[in-house]
Symmetry: D2
Subunit: 342 residues, 4 copies
């Protein structure tokens, strides 16, 4: 390492939401990144350090002007529907894009249209997009110029279930994912649901009848398992800022013991620097992963019913969003996968 | 109501723990109760208002002296194992006892011994005890002189599942109860797990490999359903003071629609003043029930998998402990069931 | 108590904000109140139990129609400026009104106009209004038909300082009130400041250059002390739902010891059921008063500087708003002062 | 930067408390540090990543064996009294020590003995120690081999008041410091006061009659101002994990306007990378500094009373403890002051 390595130019669109600001925080410390532009329609003209004083930078938020974006890497941290049009215009020109919205996650446009209530405007581009979960799709991500960064719930659930489904350990049609999320997962938009006195000292299930992250889990896990995976998914809102804990339940197909399953999980993730499978008898906690890009998994078999239980924790803004987006950038740029991440 | 009604003398043993103090708070406002003694070994000699300044009373904590307890009603809010000996001595003498410990909840002493690790000292008395869930055992409670007040998790889970099991709607051997509890559920004893900086901004599953409240759920629900009910139960610790939210998952045996099930639930609880079944499409939140004796239930059928989801909320110190204990006292004394409760 | 006492009809205008809903909660349990109408423009037509499920009542929110309000007692829990017009129309007709807004609290209209930025529309009515702090103005409140219910910060600060100022113990021009409030004090209106992830794990001073509750404190304490009281007041937002803790600092004029001052405070409040002066060496905590109408005071003299420190705690929705409003109603109606309050 | 710079060996004694673990976290990312040993009597033999899973390292906690400590730099994060003996044995041998306890902070041993209740065992070593607040003592720290790292409250208060006192703007004998701290400030030791359900939804003043951090503030500020500074200091416990917000009040000696004072503060700290003076009209919040080594200051003059108000925020584990300890190490070792800190 005898000479300083060159830096790559990066733009973040939608830099002042929670995911966008976390991206900026990580990118400012990344040794191979020069953060060139931060774009925010709402706060154009203001220093981003005024909106998020934790960010130590002189960068000024700019309005969105596609032509003025010249960076090699662009992160889009925008609402779905908005994102697909902008990504469509940015694409090409030897540029790599990581899109944090849902717009390029579902390969089946009819499913997209069913869950998001609108026709997909970029079906051709969609076919080029890679689902950005490095633990499943590392090689494709490395060659891709458009990565669809996974949702926070799917990241936690897929990592919890992938080894069991790939190795055909569990039944595919009776999987339960009971997920608990901190409030940043709901974004920075004001709602009564996220008004402090309504959330504090409270908890609740929401979108019990169907949450948009469900098809994403089912699509990826079905691909992996070679069959139709069906999940009962219930997300819950918990009074804390960051973190998702997903408790996953599935019926075992074979009579394996817990150590055998733990071994299979450990082997499945042996090349993955950010996923840790805990020893038998240990279970992960949210505080172990917040402000990091890590996912920790603990598992057991219930004595009475014989069901498999897998518990997965991530930071919804880390491995569940911005950390994973930078992990994807590292892969796309040929950097070491862990660079600038913790 | 032309003349004031007489009051009944009450003693609370273990009055300074969270359940004990909540009992004292409720009993001080109860129109038919004269709170005669509050007993606390740890704080004997001190005014209880010094330990819990919210309690407006001049009562002084006393040491435990069985002979000096002359009240007609005694609440024992003691640790298991300790409780059974004391209840054994108090029993008889025309007295009614509500025991908040686990000691008289399980009719099968081998199960008690397996889960609690000690031989039951009062098997004869155990046979006289009634499991104090009024919604299932109201008539027996009315005639009983020893009520075993249910655990907080079993209360939430049994109320969520009883109608479905009694009416044979769901399979008995694949039920999942994912429960989330506030920290008072862990009691007032100091542990690193409940040290503020360890719980705050954190959450975790605990006793994933087996929690003592499981056999209680299985025993009561098996009785009700006429078959062996098997539950996968995972409790979680959530950073808030009071409240349990249980998300229950079960496979439906018949193809009922959600409205039919909601009707069956509503009918099941039509005589129960403290249980509310929400309209289809509504789901309950913790904040709706804290500081009350209420349980609220919401249910749906998952579109993809067809599994039944029932969500149940209670205050772990209310319907999950002290509120329910007073509800049981009301029944045992022939008072209106809702008296002094909200 | 040989016959049931008659109930008095009550209307609450602005019933769905935090103060309004707390008023409804207290009034539903009040033995002499028949709650006739709950008025909410935003939620007209909906059951109030749907907006605030903790409220067990069938009352439906109604729009505001002055002519249809026939209750003897009206509580107005409305924003300032809005309130004064409505109270103006309601006044008279043998009716008693408790106004929870700031509109009738300041007798000096030029001060009102300076701080609230608008001309007072009801100067004649203002002269009839009594500042509803029972500990200072009990006799006037009893005879009044319009009570201006104090602000939450002024309640905590005035009760902390009144004895010292009335007895001329402290200098009038160098008093500091450092107040810390839970988030319900900021109301139910959505703001970024009260968005959960912004408040949780955060705290901040606000309106450091001048908060509208300051003139209210100064006016009442000046009246009491017979001189111009000047206060440096800084409010802080703290991540909890309910409660104000005010730490007040003042320079003593005479060399009294702490026991003498504690005696004077105790004597000052000896007739006041809701104010408690703690023994020397004890200091109050928020948790002792939440969900109650109580104020607890602790005091000491700083060893180094000789300054007096008085710490005061209340529930901002209890003694700081709705509890105190009911205490005022009790006085206005000739009921026992503590009736229906805890 | 054409060749990699050498790393320096570091040992942390007391590595598993909150300050110790935060030190380890920072040191693991520091580009010039090789963390050689982590010492914890309680957890000797266990990987520190098992006690604090956020720490990604294979280091095993060791028992304390003075002879085996060979690092050039030692951090002692131990309780007072314990620390002074160990530091006494470690001192010398061309080694630099940063002591995070109170044992070497007070130059006047009679004051130490009064507040800590024991005779100082190392008076000679005490004379060599430098009070490790770089903004006041940078040059002395650079030359020192024993730095007494300041307490968290003194750091926040001294930085808030130093410019005003050094420039003789305020009266010395009537300063008020009202400080609010998160719960990690109370350490990892279990107490009822820091049991989750007791702190959550609560707040309280503590040690109102005298807190040990007071003499530290007074000693340093007296030195700086050339006169006897007297402070009324009240600390408060707030339900959040990290952060101190100190609101400081002082009477101005001269009639300066707020802009002039803000200019003097800005000038005072112009060489200090971690202290920021906000523009007039802005005030800092805790969330801006947590997980950093920064201190942010906002100030104003109260309109009514003319008192100066200065608000100061730090992370009690960052600038209030471990961040500052690393800043001191950077100075002692001739590294850039900001290296490895944010």
């Amino acid at each position: 390492m005898s000479k300083p390595e060159s830096k790559i130019g990066v733009t973040v669109i939608g830099a002042t939401g929670y995911s966008g600001a976390e991206l900026v925080r990580i990118l400012l410390q990344h040794p191979r990144v020069k953060l060139e532009k931060v774009i925010s329609r709402t706060f154009a003209g203001k220093p981003i350090s005024q909106i998020h004083p934790r960010l130590r930078t002189n960068l000024i938020c700019q309005g969105l002007n596609i032509e003025e974006i010249t960076s090699s890497i662009v992160f889009a941290a925008l609402p779905h529907a908005t994102s697909m049009g902008i990504v469509g215009k940015l694409h090409g020109k030897n540029r790599k894009i990581v899109d944090l919205s849902a717009d390029f996650r579902l390969q089946d446009t009819t499913i997209y249209e069913k869950w998001y209530g609108l026709v997909h405007q970029q079906p051709n581009l969609l076919r080029k997009a890679v689902y950005g979960l490095p633990e499943l799709n590392r090689d494709k991500i490395k060659k891709s110029c458009l990565v669809a960064n996974p949702g926070c719930y799917p990241t936690a659930a897929i990592l919890a279930l992938a080894p069991a489904l790939q190795k055909n350990l569990i039944e595919k049609e009776a999987i339960i994912v009971d997920a608990k999320s901190g409030v940043t997962g709901a974004g920075r938009k004001l709602t009564l649901t996220t008004h402090f006195p309504e959330v504090n000292e409270n908890m609740n299930a929401y979108q019990v009848e169907g949450h948009r992250h469900l098809p994403e889990m089912e699509e990826e896990l079905s691909k992996l398992s070679g069959g139709k995976v069906q999940i009962t998914f219930v997300p819950h809102l918990i009074p804390l800022n960051r973190g998702i804990l997903s408790t996953c339940y599935a019926r075992l197909r074979n009579s394996l013991n817990v150590k055998e399953i733990q071994d299979l999980y450990t082997q499945f993730y042996q090349q993955d620097p950010f996923v840790e499978v805990l020893p038998v008898g240990s279970f992960p906690q949210i505080k172990e992963v917040i402000f990091s890009n890590r996912c920790r998994l603990g598992l057991t078999i219930n004595n009475t019913t014989g069901w498999l239980i897998v518990i997965s924790v991530i930071d919804n803004l880390g491995k569940g969003a911005s950390g994973q987006a930078v992990q994807n950038m590292n892969l796309m740029c040929g950097f070491p996968e862990e660079l600038g991440l913790c």
